[in-house]
């Protein structure tokens, strides 16, 4: 259980204003999961997250970002559920 950390679920492309708002809100003990258009931030080295980071594999595959994401921890929907189970506090951006 990592009960002191917040799980952030981010589905916005980096040019969306809520993307940067989420990044600014991250604490080092938090966990960030990129889903949907959120995975696009892994393209072109735009991503600078100061905490534990995951990205959803189905969304990476859809957008052909396997190469850009090779240094990220990729997860499937089962692992996303597990992260929500171990984090009592979750923010969907």
């Amino acid at each position: 259980m990592t009960s002191n950390s917040t799980l952030h679920i981010l589905n916005k492309a980096p040019e969306h204003p809520r993307y940067q708002a989420c990044i600014n809100a991250l604490a080092p003990s938090d966990t960030l999961v990129l889903i949907e258009n959120g995975v696009l931030s892994a393209a072109g080295n735009q991503l600078h997250a100061p905490c534990t980071l995951y990205a959803l594999k189905a969304d990476i595959d859809a957008r052909a970002l396997e190469a850009a994401c090779e240094n990220l921890n990729t997860i499937d929907y089962d692992e996303l559920v597990q992260l929500t189970a171990t984090h009592p506090k979750i923010i969907s951006w």
């Binding site: 393209a43 072109g44 595959d61 859809a62 957008r63 850009a68």
Partner: protein, 116 residues
Amino acid sequence: MSTLIVIDQAPYGFWTGREALDMAFSLAAFDQPAAMLFTGAGVNWLRKGQRPDGVGQKSAEKNLSAAPLFGIEALIADEHACQQYGLTESTMLPGVELVSNIRDVLGDHKHVVFAG
């Protein structure tokens, strides 16, 4: 003079791009000259190897690859946006023209249309 259909939103997360593509195909079907401009997050339409089975959608790449067959005159991409999203010649669909000055592209077309 041609109509320029602009896509500035990413595929899969938004539906607008597909409806933009339908507009371009429709123009071509009625023998009206049409070109497409990809800019901002819209350049992510152009990445090769999209496999959207896991998100329950049809491939945007596959839809777009029909553009020359349908008679779309040009696929144009914003060079700067391609750089931002790490798109290179080797990761991009073939036949896309890179441009650095969007203003000139907009100026070259009589109609400039976003789908939403």
